[in-house]
């Protein structure tokens, strides 16, 4: 899987999303439940929650400003502990390096813990080409993988769009599972099957929540504990990180982990937060003998130094997705990207280009719910607007009819005379479409409005006329 999911056009994807009743019920329920949980451990519990967000923001901004320094420090400290560091500017470079490790180790059985960046670089496809068996060990991702690589629809809960009956069917087909669709029984089956995979794996691959420059450490945040087994049992470990996922010291890591768990799942901390430094030590029995850290750019550096830099503050908590009213109704697959929701609509066009993703910035009412919850204060709705500006003014990718309309609107709005004439003749112009005080079948751009709702007929007497008459002392109702 790469960043792109599916082959359909945006409109078709939205259409299938809107007609997927189970998915919509699941998403709405998840959003409502998650919002309550998030509020309970953020604004309800902490009167100074804004300070936490401010602190998160200042840490992330500082790191981006000195990113080259912190990455250098990180790599030095990883190497000091005997780890190997590879800087990959492109996904091809990252995959080539990982391929070379796999070949050198003659690795055949690979276990992975959830990582968005490995999805982004299509790592699994390369590993399968190498003849490796790759097993995703996060329960949600495991389910999707078993179901012939169904794409994820949420960055924290990847199988959110599936119900337990669908999962039971997948298990039945792929694992000869015979029990019921009770989540406990399904999870137990996964535990038993995956325990074997952990024990026999010769290579473990993880993502990285936050690397710590000062000590060359990195942290993994899970509830299931799968990342712990991925990093404790195989003899070789490869960790892949997006280059911006770094903090100066343990003290900043702590803040961002706290922001992440509270916003992602409404927990003070998740069940497992694992801080790893280098390979195992000389006399250790568990942990990898060999450790590789792959630091991935893949388009991120082009975002640095520009008007979208703040998107790199993201800590992948998904809070913006959980409050987005658009995501609520169309679901994750509609975005056509492994990064859905507001963060996806900002990030995906930057990494994947406007040609493929020019609709995404418009899939928002700019209601600001995302910006309001973001724990590191990314002005997401402003960035969506910024994309629109770039699409219209720099890329010239807006439809011609819209351009003409906006030009006319600009002229009309800017000129009191034109505005007055336009608004004066509007009732007459719209008269053929008006019945009583409403328009039910509007012409031109109004049609998309009146397909769904009635539009008020323009008042025969504009407010400004009423006001003028009133000033003159006319008695009018």
């Amino acid at each position: 899987m790469s960043m792109k999911i599916g082959t359909e056009q945006f409109k078709e994807r939205v259409d299938s999303g809107i007609h997927d009743d189970f998915m919509r019920g699941a998403v709405a329920g998840a959003q409502d439940g998650m919002s309550l949980k998030r509020k309970a451990v953020t604004t309800d519990e902490m009167s100074n929650w804004e300070d936490w967000r401010n602190h998160g923001e200042e840490i992330r901004q500082h790191v981006l400003e000195y990113l080259d320094y912190y990455l250098e420090q990180l790599s030095e400290n990883v190497a000091k502990r005997g780890g190997h560091v590879f800087f990959a500017q492109t996904k091809e470079e990252a995959n080539e390096y990982i391929r070379s490790v796999v070949q050198k180790k003659n690795a055949k059985k690979i276990v992975k813990s959830k990582s968005m960046v490995t999805e982004e670089i299509s790592l699994n496809a390369m590993l399968q080409e190498e003849g490796c068996e790759v097993v995703e060990t996060d329960l949600g991702e495991y389910i999707l993988q078993l179901d012939d690589h169904d794409p994820p629809s949420h960055i924290v809960v990847p199988a959110l769009h599936k119900n337990k009956e669908q999962i039971r069917e997948v298990f039945e087909k792929k694992l000869a599972y015979t029990k019921t669709s009770k989540p406990e029984e399904l999870a137990y089956q996964a535990r038993v099957t995956l325990r074997e995979k952990f024990l026999e794996a010769d290579l473990g691959i993880t993502g990285c929540n936050f690397a710590v420059a000062e000590t060359g450490s990195f942290s993994l945040v899970t509830n299931e504990g799968n990342a712990d087994l991925v990093t404790a049992l195989p003899k070789t470990q490869i960790t892949v990180m997006g280059m911006e996922r770094i903090v100066p010291t343990f003290e900043e890591m702590e803040i961002l982990v706290s922001l992440l768990t509270r916003n992602a799942v409404g927990q003070k901390l998740t069940s497992y937060i694992t801080v790893l430094t280098g390979p195992r030590e000389e006399l250790d029995v568990d942990g990898p003998e060999e450790f590789h850290l792959v630091i991935v750019d893949n388009g991120r550096s082009t975002i640095l130094g520009g008007e979208f830099q703040s998107v790199l503050q993201c800590i992948r908590c998904g809070a913006c997705i959980n409050v987005c009213p658009v995501y609520r109704h169309i679901g994750g697959h509609s975005y056509g990207s492994i990064y859905p929701g507001p963060i996806g609509a900002v990030l995906t066009p930057l990494l994947g280009g406007y040609d493929e993703y020019k609709e995404l910035p418009y899939a928002s009412t700019l209601c600001g719910a995302c910006t309001e919850v973001c724990p590191v204060k990314i002005p997401l709705h402003n960035l969506l607007h910024k994309h629109r500006e770039v699409i219209v003014e720099k890329e010239g990718k807006a439809p011609v009819s819209e351009k003409l309309l906006m030009k006319a609107f600009g002229l009309g709005a800017a000129s009191p005379t034109l505005y007055k004439i336009g608004s004066k003749i509007a009732p007459a112009a719209l008269n053929p479409f008006t019945s009583g005080d409403k328009i039910s079948k509007g012409p031109g751009p109004l049609k998309a409005w009146t397909d769904i709702r009635d539009f008020p007929a323009p008042n025969k007497e504009r407010f400004r006329d009423w006001f003028k008459h009133r000033e003159k002392g006319d008695k009018r109702p």
């Binding site: 259409d15 899939a363 009412t365 709005a413 009191p416 409005w449 323009p458 400004r464 006001f467």
Partner: protein
């Protein structure tokens, strides 16, 4: 106190009653209301669609129109917020940035103005009926006006208030979003209509004419009996 009314184009053309109620309400609270004829649209529809250059002329026109005003008051949270955006839009422009800042500093949404500037919490209104209230996104999140409409509604005699479930959810208007992404917009407004019905209210009240036009238009299309009113109309009834 002299108040300069920024009526908004929707009110000017489609919602004259809202404009009238706003004027009468402010006058009753002792304000002298003026309406500069040269006001046009604040530029939000084209600006939000990404047409920043095209929108700036309208914005400059508005800045000039309200240059001499003491207080600018608007019966729309979203349009009032747009004036507060001007300083960001003209950031770095030596001529227009300071002017934009001056305009933003004196621009208020109607209920905000009544509570925060006039310091009035009870406007002496009476309204018999069961009412629910739609909190518009731009007004609450971006302009940051959350309490004033609630304070004023609470003090209206005869009014029974029922909170709207899922009130923090956008109604699906979003300017050109409502036509550009009409299929998604429909789902959003339908959920909003569903919530309005759940309250059993006879009236849906809001402080933003555009959101009301969206929810109201959908309710009318679906034949729902709920009546839509702007908060100025409630506060102006006696």
């Amino acid at each position: 106190m002299k108040v300069t009314l920024f009526a908004t184009c929707i009110v000017d053309m489609f919602q004259g009653n809202v404009g009238k109620a706003t004027v009468e309400l402010l006058e009753r609270l002792g304000c002298e209301v003026e309406f500069p004829e040269s006001q046009v649209c604040c530029g939000q529809p084209s600006y939000n669609s990404g047409y920043v250059k095209e929108s700036k002329e309208a914005m400059k026109r508005m800045i000039e129109t309200f240059r001499d005003a003491e207080y600018v008051v608007s019966p729309s949270g979203s349009c009032a917020f747009m004036f507060h955006e001007y300083p960001h839009i003209f950031a770095g422009d030596p001529v227009w940035e300071p002017k934009a800042k001056a305009l933003a500093a004196k621009t208020y949404e109607l209920t905000q103005f009544i509570v925060e500037v006039l310091k009035v919490e009870d406007v002496g209104a009476r309204f018999e009926g069961n009412v629910t209230y739609h909190t518009s996104c731009h007004m609450t999140r971006l302009l940051g006006v959350k309490e004033p409409p609630m304070i004023l509604l609470k003090n209206v005699k005869g009014l029974k208030f029922t909170e709207l479930p899922g009130k923090e959810q956008c109604c699906g208007f979003g300017g050109t979003f409502s036509v550009k992404m009409s299929q998604i917009s429909e789902q959003m407004v339908d959920e909003k209509v569903h919530h309005v019905e759940e309250t059993g209210a006879q009236y849906l009240v809001g402080a933003d004419a555009a959101c009301l036009m969206n929810i109201g238009g959908r309710m009318e299309r679906l034949g729902k009996p709920v009546k839509v009113l702007h908060i100025a109309e409630i506060l102006n009834s006696r």
